[in-house]
């Protein structure tokens, strides 16, 4: 039986973990000194810019760059002809496997442009203005082709085909006709027909959501400097500089050792900065020009050419007995992948029913290419779209059964020992505790007024572990440096320093955390998948434990006693053998000061592939008020409970939950890619792509349910992704109860709500 963690569960009283110290990189960030991707300036640096497709789908007949190259101040012009023409190759990097051929064609179009804004050429010049003029001088002849953006239209047999060589995988046999459907995913268990036959009530419903962007405030930015000897340096704002290195080296056929990627501070990523867009182009331009090249996207380019997440259509058929027991579920998920295969529909298939103990189910997923930007990972990729359909269906079921929405979730809740729909048997999960936290929360007893409604929804995400390297060294004065290869996108420097300080028994202010470049530390994969505090944190703890063993050895030698006669406590070695340590305990500072006499510098490396990341569950409740005349939705209050394992730095865990909820609210209410009939995004800016502003939101009550993850020394698990999963459904359900109308298509914009209310009034 799970229960909230208490200090005694970890065997010792924690002094640092669980407290709220000021983050070590905080002062730099509140004084404007922190250097982000666009803040670097190098001598002789050029400005690089990208020429982008004016068409949603077209064949490139010719590109003439001569006039651009002839413009004074222009130092280099490139096209896909300047990049290796790679064969299709599966490469594990970033959030998921990449097909290098597709990735290469996405950063620079080859043969065809597949979406409006697709990169076709790039220039490097001595000023912004000259670079802009040069772009205008590049002459490109296109043969336009019919395009398709809507996911269901793209699946139609007569749809314009993006890739002549794409044949749907997962159908059993290989089809003979090319299709926009890259892959059919399938997961099933039990006997669905029998399950529905045993049901007293069956609901069949359909929910769609528009493409939305991660919306990080910092546009993509990098500086590349290619040296004559082939050694290069890249300063880049990303969620994983090792992945930037790997992708650049693979795309440009360079030695990994020749590509040194230095992590700039990153201004938000949310999954969207786990791949390359500008870096390979900047490298080619730097090589061709012999100068460092800075490339910074405009906000418009960020919307037009970097990964949004998938628009999706989710249909759900679900049956239950009168007592609320869900007997069968059928889920069909259609996901827009953008210009190249690889939507997160696979994860959507796996997560869609992850909160429910259902004996019989069939889940089908469709990965569909469309003439829109290639989707990129976005916080729990795929899970929010799936949860929208499933959680709303569960709410419809509860309504038909006259059952409390919390009760039906408790009735069918997964627990330890239950086989997850995606396969394994659940262990040490905190879903029931999270449901309980909401059930007993004061929010649930606040009475609602007219035109107000309450929505409850649950959500799930796996969380991952993965590869991390940590260098931990003790300075001569006993302070410590902990270096990792994990970019800090939301306070991870603080949690790394805290875990090291906890083990070493020193104050967190005595530990300096560093994010080291690709030439200064071993491989570490991206800060994403909610892995860093768990996986890199595990490496930090192991490194500190190794040092403590070494420190005890050094103390034992100093005192001439056996190592088992030495204990490490409060940052010092203590001798158990009477009379052997006349001067008392040996502090870390003392041992560090005399390190040369006990074997030299005190330092260690831990490199691991962390396993056993615990899955996370969230249960959210939100209250809205809908203006029945304008259809405008006001979010009155929001409470989000989450199974967080053990919060290392609770303030940043709350921050992850609050931030995820805010993004989910934006996704539900106002965010969407609006395309013209010509396939051009019409709202490529923060004016008309409406992310939530401060006055749109209430305070967001983040409730941390601590069910420790036994795979982590302090019980930590990922927390960053779960909170964006429930809000889409929670908002849709709350609007339904406020208006009496079920809205099936996100975003829940005022005009749609007013139209639905009018239609309902008949």
């Amino acid at each position: 039986m799970n229960r909230p963690v208490k200090p005694e569960d970890t065997g010792t009283i924690l002094k640092v973990v669980g407290t709220r110290p000021i983050r070590p990189d905080g002062v730099e960030k509140v004084t404007g000194r922190a250097a982000y991707g666009a803040d670097l300036h190098l001598p002789g640096m050029l400005i690089g810019k990208v020429k982008r497709s004016p068409h949603a789908h077209a064949r490139i007949i010719s590109i003439d760059t001569r006039k651009a190259l002839a413009l004074p101040g222009v130092k280099a012009v490139m096209t896909s002809a300047d990049m290796p023409n790679l064969a299709a190759e599966h490469y594990e990097a970033g959030e998921s496997a990449s097909n290098l051929k597709d990735l290469s064609a996405n950063v620079m179009a080859r043969g065809k442009v597949l979406y409006h804004g697709h990169a076709v050429a790039a220039v490097a010049a001595t000023s912004n203005a000259i670079a802009d003029q040069a772009l205008d001088l590049i002459e490109i002849v296109y043969e336009t082709l019919p395009h398709v953006i809507d996911v269901e239209e793209a699946m139609a047999p007569d749809a314009p085909i993006l890739h002549d060589q794409m044949f749907t995988a997962g159908l059993g046999e290989t089809p003979t006709k090319a299709s926009n459907i890259a892959t059919k995913h399938r997961l099933d268990r039990g006997d669905v027909a029998a399950g529905f036959a045993a049901a007293d009530v069956i609901v069949e419903t359909r929910y769609s959501s528009a493409a939305v962007h991660q919306g990080y405030i910092e546009p993509h930015a990098c500086v590349a400097s290619y040296a004559a000897d082939g050694q290069t340096q890249v300063w880049s704002s990303s969620q994983g500089h090792f992945v930037i290195r790997g992708l650049c080296a693979k795309l440009l056929k360079m030695r990994f050792s020749d590509v040194r990627v230095i992590p700039a501070e990153i201004g938000g990523g949310f999954g969207g900065k786990t791949t390359v867009y500008l870096e390979p182009l900047a490298l080619v331009l730097s090589q061709k020009s012999g100068h460092p090249v800075k490339m910074v996207m405009t906000r418009e380019e960020v919307f037009r050419a970097t990964g949004p997440t998938s628009a999706s259509v989710v249909t759900v058929k679900m049956g239950a007995k009168n007592d609320g027991t869900i007997t069968a579920a059928q889920v069909d998920l259609k996901f827009q992948a953008g210009a190249f295969a690889g939507s997160p529909v696979g994860a959507a298939v796996m997560t869609s029913l992850a909160c429910y103990d259902v004996a019989n189910f069939e889940i089908t997923g469709w990965d569909v290419v469309t003439n829109s930007p290639k989707v990129a990972a976005y916080r729990a990729p795929g899970a929010p779209n799936a949860a929208l359909g499933v959680e709303c269906a569960v709410d419809e079921l509860a309504e038909r059964l006259g059952m409390d929405p919390m009760a039906i979730r408790e009735k069918n809740a997964v627990r330890d020992g239950v086989r997850a729909p995606y396969g394994p048997i659940y262990k040490n999960i905190g879903y029931v505790e999270t449901l309980e936290a909401i059930k007993s929360h004061p929010h649930m007893s606040i009475p609602l007024g007219p035109n107000q409604g309450r929505g409850i929804a649950a959500g799930f995400w796996f969380n991952i572990g993965g590869e991390s390297t940590v260098n931990l060294s003790i300075n001569e004065d006993g302070t410590a440096i902990v270096s990792t290869g994990s970019p800090d996108i939301g306070g991870s420097r603080a949690s790394m320093a805290m875990m090291a300080a906890e083990v070493l028994g020193i104050g967190v202010e005595q530990v300096r955390p560093i994010v080291a470049d690709t030439a200064s530390i071993g491989f570490s994969t991206v800060t994403g998948g909610s892995r860093t505090t768990f996986a890199t944190g595990m490496a930090v703890v192991q490194a500190a434990e190794k040092l403590v063993i070494d420190l005890k050895r050094r103390a034992a030698e100093t005192w001439g006693v056996d190592q088992d006669q030495v204990v490490w406590q409060d940052g010092a070695a203590h001798c158990l053998q009477a009379g052997k340590a006349p001067k008392g305990a040996l502090t870390l500072a003392a041992l560090a000061g005399s390190a040369g006499k006990t074997g030299g510098p005190i330092a260690t490396v831990v490199a691991l592939n962390a396993q056993g990341a615990g899955p996370g569950f969230g249960v959210h409740v939100c209250d809205v008020e809908v203006d029945p005349e304008t259809g405008h939705v006001t979010v009155l209050r929001y409470t989000a409970a989450q199974d967080v394992g053990k919060a290392i730095h609770p303030a940043y865990v709350e921050g992850q939950i609050q931030g995820g909820v805010a993004q989910g609210i934006g996704w539900a209410l106002n965010e969407e890619y609006v395309f013209s009939t010509g396939g051009v995004m019409e709202n490529a800016g923060f004016l008309d792509y409406r992310v939530p502003v401060a006055s749109d939101l209430p305070m967001i009550d983040a409730v941390m349910v601590e069910v420790p993850n036994p795979a982590h020394p302090y019980g930590a698990k990922g927390v960053g992704e779960v909170p964006i999963v429930p809000p889409l459904a929670a908002l849709a359900i709350a609007v339904r109860h406020a208006t009496g109308v079920r809205m099936h298509d996100l975003p829940l914009s005022p005009s749609k709500i007013r139209a639905a209310i009018d239609a309902n009034a008949g």
């Binding site: 709220r20 000021i22 983050r23 990189d25 905080g26 002062v27 960030k29 509140v30 004084t31 404007g32 000194r33 922190a34 250097a35 982000y36 666009a38 803040d39 300036h41 203005a129 991660q214 919306g215 990080y216 405030i217 910092e218 546009p219 501070e265 990153i266 201004g267 938000g268 990523g269 949310f270 910074v296 405009t298 906000r299 996108i489 939301g490 306070g491 730095h649 303030a651 940043y652 709350e654 921050g655 992850q656 609050q658 931030g659 995820g660 909820v661 805010a662 993004q663 800016g685 923060f686 004016l687 992310v691 939530p692 502003v693 401060a694 006055s695 749109d696 939101l697 305070m699 967001i700």
Partner: protein, 162 residues
């Protein structure tokens, strides 16, 4: 294209710079004066990451031509703290963990300073509407608003006791 000379006071110090007529105050702050604390998130006045205070008024420096600041006083994030002493807003943002990636933070701090200069005792709603022009994608604004209101309360305390 002829550059024009402009003289202004930036963070209390006299500065002179040359700019192209199309260059914005943000371009000059970042590229000429190397004050890169002011960020460009949109270039259209929709995100507030480039917020600075110009002759006492909060503005988006991406929506001000460099030549317009002739004779003006411009305050940027680089001038918010006094020597190595943080401004109370900066300290409260750290105390409340009111930043994650930190990219919007300089603009939000300048906007918050302008708020407290104009209204020492804002309600939560007043603070939220005042800061509506400053997008933050990481925090959901919760801790930012708490930090601003907490700073306001502390500053009112200080005035009383002073």
């Amino acid at each position: 294209m002829s550059k024009q000379r402009t003289a202004a006071i930036v963070n209390g110090d006299p500065v002179e710079f040359l700019s192209d007529p199309g260059q914005t105050l943000l371009d000059v702050l970042r590229d000429e004066l190397h004050l890169t604390g002011s960020k460009e998130g949109c270039g259209s006045g929709d995100c507030g990451a480039c917020s600075v205070i110009m002759d006492g008024r909060l503005v988006c420096s991406c929506l001000v031509l460099a030549a317009e600041v002739e004779g003006c006083r411009v305050e940027t994030i680089e001038g918010l703290s006094t020597g190595s002493t943080l401004h109370p807003l900066q300290q409260k943002f750290l105390d409340h963990a009111a930043l994650q990636c930190g990219f919007c933070t300089p603009g939000i701090l300048m906007a918050s300073k302008a708020l407290l200069d104009a209204n020492p005792d804002p309600t939560e709603s007043e603070a939220r509407y005042w800061l509506a022009g400053n997008l933050c994608r990481c925090t959901g604004y919760d801790k930012i608003i708490k930090a601003v209101l907490d700073t306001a309360a502390e500053l009112r305390q200080d005035r009383k006791s002073a």
